[in-house]
């Protein structure tokens, strides 16, 4: 990176960008024709084209949400976004076959190294499509399907047709409609009955171009008694103009299955991150969202679980870090539809330098859902008086046997804590870094170690220059 780029990027260590060598780049802006063109280009079955078009029409007619950060939402310029950009002719399964400049990007992000060390499979998406994909042979032998979503649709059209939009209908919200209209890339995973995928599989999403829109679509189906641990990371260069990331993730955990979906989102501070994530847990199944939001300009994301079968469990652990100019509007939603279902929600947020973090939660208990238990804990840490933290919890409980707990706290770093740590040889910045890492620890300990270490480093970096 040259000095000029460094200046523009500032503290954000993933803010570099590489030359844009697009092989296909659509003109900016969105129309029904663009939607059809994307579908055409991908040689999709007609039913998919139809869903896309319906979703597009819904997107156009649907007003912006009248909640969340309305002024930031209104500032999105949909006409300036590039909705499709192909940067590599095909998806490689060997890093040597990935175009040099793209490979360099992923090398700098440490992806190939991580793959060798601790991952069961990797998909790396650059702009609109996967440029690299691989899965361990032993997983393939057990019948595990792990593909990028475009390949998934080509190779398993019936399976995709059965589950696509089954958890999140395109008309769920304005951005799920947008995603359904222009989706490209993402992961498609099917884990057969009784198969446990021990090593995490990882997807890495990178936006490189200016004014890019990334709309990946992920669908994970864990069949009866199976389990999978999926991890995703996201970064983008720092530009003065904004990019849009609007993903849809659908999870289906069949009877007794377990899906854990972990995210560390570290988009640069010019990315709108408007994502819909929802899972269905059938009888005795477990869906876990481990969701970290560190970057982006505006994030609106509320990982949800529908507890459909008796004895199902939801676990949603999320953290949000909001620095200058950032608004993290994040949270969790759980619908207890069946008896004896349980859920735990833990949300932690840090606001600094005028940043804003909001917790928005929904807990719903159906009249027929007897014996449900749920615990919601929201902790906010404010690092200065300019920052802001709000909590918007909603509970709709229609069954009196439900056992619900809700705790919320807002705290500051105390002078006593700082003095104590400084008396042990930590500088003030190091002391703040340690306290902040400690605050996020209930989240970090759930991540694969490599991610946890990276996240801690990242937060320590954020604390540098924190002392006025």
């Amino acid at each position: 990176m040259n000095d000029e780029a460094n200046n523009a990027v500032g503290d954000y260590q993933y803010g570099f960008h590489d030359p844009e060598n697009a092989t296909i780049r659509f003109d900016k802006g969105l129309s029904e024709q663009v939607v059809r063109d994307i579908s055409n280009l991908k040689e999709e079955p007609e039913w998919m084209t139809e869903i896309r078009v319906k979703a597009y029409r819904h997107f156009v007619s649907r007003p912006m949400p009248d909640w969340g950060n309305c002024s930031m939402l209104e500032s999105i310029k949909f006409d300036d976004v590039t909705y499709f950009l192909r940067s590599s002719k095909e998806t490689a399964n060997d890093w040597d076959d990935v175009p040099e400049d793209i490979k360099n990007t992923f090398n700098r992000l440490g992806i190939p190294e991580a793959e060798q060390k601790w991952l069961g499979g990797v998909t790396a998406q650059y702009e609109s499509e996967a440029v690299y994909h691989s899965v361990r042979e032993d997983l393939e032998e057990q019948g595990v399907i792990f593909l990028d979503m475009d390949a998934g649709l080509k190779e398993y059209p019936e399976l995709v047709k059965q589950y696509f939009c089954s958890v999140i209908p395109y008309a769920d919200n304005k951005f799920s409609a947008l995603n359904t209209a222009v989706w490209s890339g993402g992961s498609f995973i099917y884990v057969p009955k009784g198969v446990h995928v021990e090593m995490p599989v990882q997807a890495y999403f990178r936006i490189n171009a200016k004014n890019m829109g990334q709309f990946e679509r992920t669908l994970i189906i864990a069949d009866e008694g199976s389990s999978i641990n999926y991890v995703e990371g996201c970064t983008a260069p720092t530009y003065s103009t904004d990019s849009l990331h609007s993903a849809v993730v659908e999870l289906i955990a069949m009877e007794g299955a377990k899906i854990r979906y972990s995210t560390v989102q570290n988009w640069s501070a010019n990315v709108y991150n408007l994502v819909t994530k929802r899972g269905i847990a059938h009888k005795n199944a477990v869906v876990e969202w481990v969701d970290g939001n560190i970057g982006s300009k505006l994030t609106m994301k509320y990982p949800s679980v529908i507890l459909k079968g008796e004895g199902a469990h939801a676990e949603i652990i999320s953290v949000a870090y909001a620095g200058a100019g950032q608004h993290q509007d994040a949270g969790a939603k759980v619908h207890h539809l069946a008896p004896n279902t349980t859920s735990n929600i833990l949300s932690k947020s840090i606001s600094k330098n005028g940043g804003r973090s909001s917790y928005r939660g929904l807990l719903k208990v159906n009249p027929k859902a007897h014996g449900c238990r749920s615990k919601v804990v929201c902790d906010a840490l404010m690092l200065d008086a300019d920052s802001r933290s709000d909590t918007y919890p909603t509970m709709e409980v229609s069954n009196s046997s439900a056992d619900l707990e809700h705790e919320a706290s807002v705290s500051k770093i105390s002078g006593d804590q700082l003095f104590y740590l400084m008396s042990r040889g930590f500088s003030e910045e190091e002391a703040m870094g340690l306290i902040v890492n400690g605050f996020f620890e209930p989240f970090t300990r759930e991540l694969p170690m490599e991610y946890a270490v990276e996240l801690n480093k990242l937060l320590e970096l954020e604390m540098e220059g924190a002392i006025g």
Partner: protein, 245 residues
């Protein structure tokens, strides 16, 4: 010949405009144990905190030299790195930070080297054994949900690992039963022989175990009497009224 570690001359300290310390002189050499006794509010803890550099305490007059240099030249963390240690009466809790990790980082800070994991582990095990501490301690969060006795033990463990040049112990013996007190005393005597100690206490019983070289009686921000161990006995026996006449 023992080195002068700490030299305090005519020290006056205020907190938010209130005068707390009103003219203290004190010299501590390496290897010496000084005890300060006095009622609550006499200024004992203030002295310990001002030495460590707490931002709320303002030196209005006099001077403090640490190893021959004016102490203002050191920030709090630099004091720690230069060999000062304060055992807190009420140590702060740091949720989410594991004791083991915290100890290792503190040792690295103060020794200014990255101690090898294996060497550190060895050292740590030995110190914990001496203090009769369970390994499970290491994975708990620093002082979070600790009993009073556990907090004090962790303070002493840190002191043993950090091997300070000057150790300030602020009522480390308060609220401890006799067994815990013995362990604390053991920790003090096990810490490097060259360490200078300033031990703040209300009670004679700790001093019986660690045998101070000097005892100072503090009333209203001043040392009103200094002497040997016999002074501690007299203070515990007769209180402080006889010094106020």
């Amino acid at each position: 010949m023992s080195e002068v570690i700490l030299n305090i001359k005519n020290l006056h300290v205020s907190v938010e405009g209130t005068k707390i310390i009103k003219g203290v002189d004190l010299t501590i050499k390496s290897g010496e144990i000084h005890a300060i006794m006095g009622r609550n509010g006499a200024g004992k803890s203030t002295l310990a905190h001002v030495l460590m550099g707490h931002p709320a305490y303002e030196i209005t007059q006099g001077e403090i030299q640490y190893r021959g240099k004016p102490i203002e030249e050191y920030e709090v963390f630099e004091r720690a790195r230069a060999g000062m240690f304060l055992s807190f009466q009420y140590p702060a809790s740091i949720p989410g930070v594991q004791v083991g990790n915290f100890l290792k980082k503190s040792v690295n800070n103060v020794r200014n080297v990255k101690v090898k994991a294996r060497d550190f582990r060895k050292e740590l095990n030995a110190a914990m054994e001496k203090l009769d501490m369970d390994k499970a301690f290491l994975s708990r969060y620093v002082n979070d949900g600790f009993s009073g006795g556990e907090k004090k033990r962790l303070e002493i463990l840190q002191m043993m690992l950090l091997k300070p040049t000057l150790a300030l112990l602020d009522e480390t013996d308060s609220g401890l039963d006799i067994d815990a007190l013995r362990l604390v005393a053991k920790g003090i005597t096990e810490t490097a022989e060259a360490t200078g100690f300033l031990v703040i206490t209300h009670y004679q019983r700790l001093l019986e175990l660690i045998k101070p070289d000097f005892v100072h009686a503090m009333i209203d921000g001043k040392f009103v009497k200094s002497g040997g161990p016999e002074l501690a006995l007299k203070l515990e026996d007769q209180g402080y009224d006889w010094l106020e006449a």
